[in-house]
């Protein structure tokens, strides 16, 4: 798995543990769920918690 995702390509399945502030609970994010629910997704990467934008 050395290829990075390219524009116009299907993104491979993503599954990540999450903290959801709206429920105050841990959960999971799965890209497959977004596709099932026909939702757009914006993935917003950033370096580190407790640091400064």
């Amino acid at each position: 798995m050395s290829e990075t995702v390219k524009l116009g390509q299907k993104v491979p399945e993503i599954e990540l543990a999450t903290y959801d502030p709206s429920t105050a609970k841990f959960g999971n994010f799965r890209l497959a769920d977004q596709i099932d629910r026909r939702r757009w997704t914006i993935l917003f990467f950033y370096p580190a918690d407790f640091t400064f934008v």
Partner: protein, 133 residues
């Protein structure tokens, strides 16, 4: 975001750190989107934003459509924040064009109602007239 889009933030911190940070930082009190954990860097590497030297993710934003296709990518180095208005503009443009696949959004397009272009043989060499006319 209320337009059929879900924002998910990702860093290489664990979900426990996300909890602690969201609880303690006043700036994050209004956050209602899931905060994802990528401590192995697996997903960050898939998107080409993993920095092997630091173990941290660069400032990358990726828009994925409801078919799971990557439609936009923006990556900044650590020292430059991303502009949220620009992100909104790009998302709205993607949403609009998914409903109007024959149209494209030129550089000044900001919101629905702004001028778009329809690529065709007639448009070649005539973009100025199409935008101004």
């Amino acid at each position: 975001m209320k337009m059929g889009c879900d924002v998910v933030t990702v860093s290489t911190d664990t979900q426990f750190v996300h909890l602690a940070w969201q609880n303690s930082e006043e700036e994050l009190a209004e956050v209602r989107y899931p905060m994802a954990a990528d401590p192995t860097g697996k997903v960050s590497r898939q998107f080409g934003v993993y920095d092997e030297n630091s173990g941290l993710a660069l400032r990358g934003t990726f828009i994925i459509n409801p078919d799971g296709v990557l439609t936009n990518s923006e990556v900044n180095f650590y020292n430059l924040g991303r502009n949220i208005d620009e992100l909104m503009r790009k998302f709205k443009a993607n949403l609009y064009m998914s409903r109007k696949p024959a149209e494209v959004c030129p550089s000044k397009w900001k919101d629905e109602g702004d001028k778009t272009l329809v690529p065709s043989e007639e448009l070649v060499g005539n973009v100025h007239e199409a935008l101004v006319g």
